[in-house]
């Protein structure tokens, strides 16, 4: 199959953008996985849905709001009641659809429709706090958990994928605008754009 093109193609430039004192506090990258899938279930069947996600990805996701978990090359997190965003290798959508019966829920492939940016580094919380009105502190937003939120009319689903690392899923059509916003917000602390 033909390779998927990134919405950032003409503007993505790996480079160092240090701040006035020459420091770099965060790195920015595009890490869109091969598969991004929305898996949803009918009310009351959340445990069956998380079991299906575990069967396919090996990830054990909790059924509580905002729950999420990050694995090797795969991740899942709650994006609303009875809904999870699951990412991973190719064919994830088909594999999930095979184990998730219609009686339990539905699977929708969003692999082309979402773009994933990774913000990591000591000032990641600071930079993202400029853009989103949510609490990024680890006590409130621990590793693995997800949030569905918005910035500047741009809908975003965010997962804390490590202690100082966040993965942001945005609609592909907004990706370039959001990337520019992200870079602008990061200028103050210094940032490096890296290849995934």
């Amino acid at each position: 199959m033909v390779e998927r093109q990134s919405p950032l193609t003409p503007i993505f430039r790996p480079a160092v953008h240090s701040n006035d004192v020459g420091s770099i506090s965060i790195t920015l990258s595009e890490v869109t996985p091969l598969s991004i899938v929305e898996a949803a279930c009918w009310p009351g069947l959340n445990e069956r849905l998380t079991a299906a996600i575990q069967e396919v990805t090996g990830l054990s996701v909790d059924t509580t709001p905002n729950a999420g978990v990050v694995g090797r090359g795969t991740a899942a997190f709650s994006i609303g009641p009875d809904r999870y965003l699951v990412s991973g290798e190719e064919d994830l959508s088909a594999r999930l659809a095979r184990v998730l019966s219609e009686e339990t829920g539905t699977v929708t492939d969003l692999s082309h429709g979402r773009t994933t940016f990774r913000v990591s580094g000591t000032r990641a919380e600071w930079v993202l706090s400029k853009l989103f009105a949510i609490d990024f502190s680890p006590a409130v937003f621990p590793v693995g958990e997800g949030r569905a939120t918005a910035h500047h009319d741009i809908f975003a689903q965010i997962q804390r994928s490590d202690a100082a690392q966040f993965d942001l899923y945005v609609f592909r059509s907004f990706a370039r605008a959001f990337w520019n916003t992200l870079c602008t917000a990061a200028e103050e602390v210094g940032y490096e754009v890296i290849e995934a």
Binding site: S129, F171, S173, A177
Partner: protein, 996 residues
Amino acid sequence: MTARRTSSGGLIERSRTIGFTFDGRSYTGHSGDTLASALVANGVTLVGRSFKYHRPRGIFTASVDEPNALVTILKDGVREPNIPATQIELFEGLEAESQNRFPSLEFDLGALNQLAGRLFSAGFYYKTFMGPVIGPLRGTRFWMICEHFIRRAAGLGRAGYKPDPARYERMNAFCDVLIVGAGPAGLMAAEAAMSSGKRVILAEQEPHLGGSARWSGEMIGGKAAADWSQDLARRIDASENVRILTRTTAWGYYDGNNIAALERVTDHLADAPKGAPRHRNWAIRADTVVLATGAFERPIVFPGNDRPGVMLAGATERYAREFGVLPGEKIALFTNNDSAYRAAAALRQFGATIMAIIDVRAKISPAARALAEEAGVEPLLGFAVTATVGRRLTKVLVRRFDAETERLSGDARPIEADCLAVSGGWSPAIHLASQAGRNPKWDEELCAFLPPEPTQAWAGAGAFTGAVTTAEALSTGRNAGLKAAGKKLSRAKLPEVTAPNLDIHPASVFEIKGNGKAFVDFQHDVTVEDVRLAHREGFVSVEHLKRYTTLGMATDQGKTSNVPGLAIMADARGLPIRDVGTTRFRPPFSPVSIGALAAEKYGHFKPDRLTPMHDWHVEHGARMMNVGLWHRPMIYGQPGETVEQAYTREAATVRRSVGIVDVSTLGKIAVKGPDAAVFLDRVYTNQFSTLPINKARYGLMLRKDGIALDDGTTWRLGEHDFLMTTTTANAGRVMQHLEYVLDVVWPDLKVHLTSVTDQWAGAALAGPNARKVLETCVAGSAVDNEALPFMGLVYGEIDRAPVLVCRLSFSGELAYEVYCGAGHGKHVWEALITAGEPHGIAPYGMEALGALRIEKGHVTGAEIDGRTTARDLYLDWMLSKKKPFIGSALMDRPGLIEKTRLRLVGVISLDGRPLGGGAHIVESGDLNELGESIGHITAFCYSPALAQYIGLALVKGGKELHGKRAYISDPLRKHFGPVQIVSHHFFDPEGKRMHG
């Protein structure tokens, strides 16, 4: 006045000299100075002209409450007016200008306004609206003449015209405890809260923590208060769970304990560091707030009280102790409480001569008497200042005064003074509390309003609560911090405070009555007489008083004037002040830059939304246009082509051979689940449960009131799997509508909705040769009429990319929509272009798309405009009679089916001129007797197929007018001309071409 820098003392860095200019003249100051302290140090005491009367004004305070010394800052080519000099930190190269004067601060022509003082009394603006009757000039006419001059004269500083190059940001923060104010109370609260491990934010509007401890001259914990505060500030700063925000003013207290705070990040720097914003607007969500905002000193109102050289007593003390500046050499003090005595002693200690302490009270505390002795002066008890003398203050006149009866007696006695320090008592800074609480409470002892009962989770500390001594600040601060952190109160010993035991409860004297202008509100030139005039004219409520006189308005929001103004109104009404009440404080506490509110939205208000083929369009010369957030090609113009020529060529290519248009922007919603078909039957007017798999159907949705909502095709991909398309403009609205009915009306339906607009790239291939193009590039499926009939869909590949091809037409031609994963969009688009080259394929933009659909009479958002019904658009054939659907219950209301409704027609221009969108249609050809409008044009174009200017319109009667002549009346575009009303199906009404 001989203001000067003292030879030693203060918290400034005397070793660092900083150059700046004021009104073009060069001066120097030191690191740690404000513009105000540096000007005073340089003997500059005239800094501005007043709003109405252009009276000379000097620096009056040392903080955010400054009403007079508003200046314009020139930085990076931008003028920013109305900044209090007391709030500007000195930096190398600072350029400041005085304002509201012409031609110069010393000689201002506007000062002539003082001669017409009575004309500008309270309510003059409103009286001018009504106007006197002078010959033909009456009422509005008089106002219209005056308006020009009033508008020119109104306002304070003058803003520039250049765009602001500075950058602004918004910042979101969450904490357990927010402490506003970092004086002794705030610092103690922070220390108490942080020790409990809570997340604490400490916001302080000044550059340094410490507040009054920096200039009180008191001892705390055996150290100078300034040192104690710095030590504590360092300890707090070292704590990981405290974020300290200096130069940050909490300006608004909103519901849910949301506090807005403005951080001035780079105003104090000559050059902003890369990426640093000038201002950062914090939105702080706090579980609990501690308000430790201190208190403002009030003036006493007396004739001549605005003369340069008159200053608040606390400010004079602060200038001396913090900045090492004396505001005068011969200083007199005028007070109704003890606090001015401490200032007198400090000023004497720094080298000034205290000429007199004039006190309206007959008795003072022993501590005050001791301080008077330190100041080297015997206080004049039972005296009041009745006048001031000099262009800049040279002397004051005092008379005997009885504080009980407020009567003056005896002869006026002159006292030489180049500075008069005034203290009329202290008012707690309850602004934020007033925004998040009930009505403030009047305290008879303090003669001030105390904080109200909270309506949100906040506690007060320090002078804010009326507890004005430093010892009380420490105890209330610690208690508030512990309480906010959910901890028990501590019995541990507090740091000992060594301070004079002053009685700061003032005598209840707010005004000394006498001859001459006595100002209540310096910034808006509101005099005592204005307040009394408002009373005489019936504006006695505090709300009316504020609006009629402008008392308490403008940038300082009456921080020095509110209480004296209310006291004078209470006196006029013969009521106690508590019965007169006060206005509620509103945000912002102090001015907030518009840039900070706009934050990152500077320069653009909405994000750009791009299709996967965006770069191809730009590279191939498309002129882009905004359609909602989307950027879409308008035309692909060739050199020398007009827009009309370009879209005519593009549309003609479609009719003649084949064209391609990017339709990725269409809204796309995945509708999945066992009840998906049932759901669609309910939301669409027509039936979808009967739609076979791999077929598409055109659908229409109504709102529940029977008005058309949106149209589009929905494709059945599986038994329980549909792909709905919506118009570009209505995608969000339709999604909201569907989610609402699913969540609220039919929660029992097993249906999931997901926006997949961005999942798919879409290209519409239209024209007689469209099939030939697909035949050469689609693999994995046939695309002939049998395999892919009208409204059929097939799966295949184009140049190794999976595609979904649906045969449907918006242009009226043989046409297909090719969908692929958005990441393959550009790749598939280029493959289609390559495949179409032998047929002369042309990309076409929105203009050609519009022309093609107008020729066909297909409706879009211009016709589905939130007012039209299915019948209005002749889409009643889509209204199923076999099932109910959203809107079916109300679509036949009498008002929606009456004959006079505006209904869809086509119009042809008969004068060969283009029609105009929104132009009215009238039946009369007589320009002088046009009659009523019978409708309007919704869309228009030059039709290459018909070689005429045509349009769609909504007119009364619709079809019944076919064949009739009417006229368009378009005065905005200066077009009046004949049109023919015809069927909206201009071209190929039988649809032979798209079924071919």
